[in-house]
Symmetry: C2
Subunit: 205 residues, 2 copies
Amino acid sequence: MEFSSKLLERAVNEMSQLPGIGKRTALRLVLHMLRQPKEQTIALSEALQTMRNDVKFCKSCHNISDQDLCEICTTPNRDLSVICIVEDIKDVMAIENTSSFKGLYHVLGGKISPMDGIGPHDLNIESLVKKVKEGTIKELIFALSSTMEGDTTNFYIYKQIKEYQILTSTIARGISVGDELEYADEITLGRSIVDRVPFESSLKL
Amino acid sequence: MEFSSKLLERAVNEMSQLPGIGKRTALRLVLHMLRQPKEQTIALSEALQTMRNDVKFCKSCHNISDQDLCEICTTPNRDLSVICIVEDIKDVMAIENTSSFKGLYHVLGGKISPMDGIGPHDLNIESLVKKVKEGTIKELIFALSSTMEGDTTNFYIYKQIKEYQILTSTIARGISVGDELEYADEITLGRSIVDRVPFESSLKL
């Protein structure tokens, strides 16, 4: 692509570094910015800079935060003895949106994936094991995605903490609420039959 | 969407102002930035700011440029007497990529579209008519998209300049090179038959 302006070219090149944004999309976005008031672009670039410079990660759960400890960790009426292990902060947001969980989180920051060069030491596993050692935790909930990498990570963590007497659980896999059985894949359907729950407990929800 | 950090929320909100980028995509992009080295985000935001502050539009053709006159207008061996009228700078880039045009451009900055509140005075039409009046131009090529708005704009400009003795033309409409006739729409196919060209002239390309 030939640009008539070096400034435009640089902006497009930087923009197209983002995942899923190619040169054409980047050009479309940048030309849109040129048509909008100058203040909008300034606000965007300042928001990005401030965020990148000033954002912190919670010292306890590694969730994104403006303080040393995140809002979830500092909320008084949450159950400090149950910790839900998630991959990244999008998962925290997703679970928080359900309003069904009142414990704390632990954000690993990824999954063990030798293919991508991510080993256990690149993840926040050590601080999790330390928390378990301290003895205040009663239950760990594994809420990683059920892929090869997710299962590997679950198992790695499980091996580290199994000597301590705590409950471990994984989130239930099964047919989505509202889904038709005939369109479900057989592994999910199979799991939902094996892990069936008492009918009375489903009435409570 | 609930964010655990105000800085993150602001960055996502600003990012989702861009066309085609919703909150979820914005969050994905912003979290990607947090995983990349800090320098990358700083470079992006500086590139956007500099571009928005310093970019100029060519005083003659209104193309984007770093100088008062753009590279195309200042290239010595181009034909100053032929002007191709396009909607925006993406069209200039598209035509330049073909290497088939050696004249100059005139970027209107849009099309007349009463539905979107864009009238003739929001476009760079006056400066085009002024150029024609000066008498150095021999041909105007209309290269707007063939929509209702494009045709309206073409006709508006045509009315303004028809008293001056210059050639006017529009780019050829027809079947794309490599396309099968059976899949072409009937209007395009009809135009390509009506506007057929001598077989000998097609051999030259």
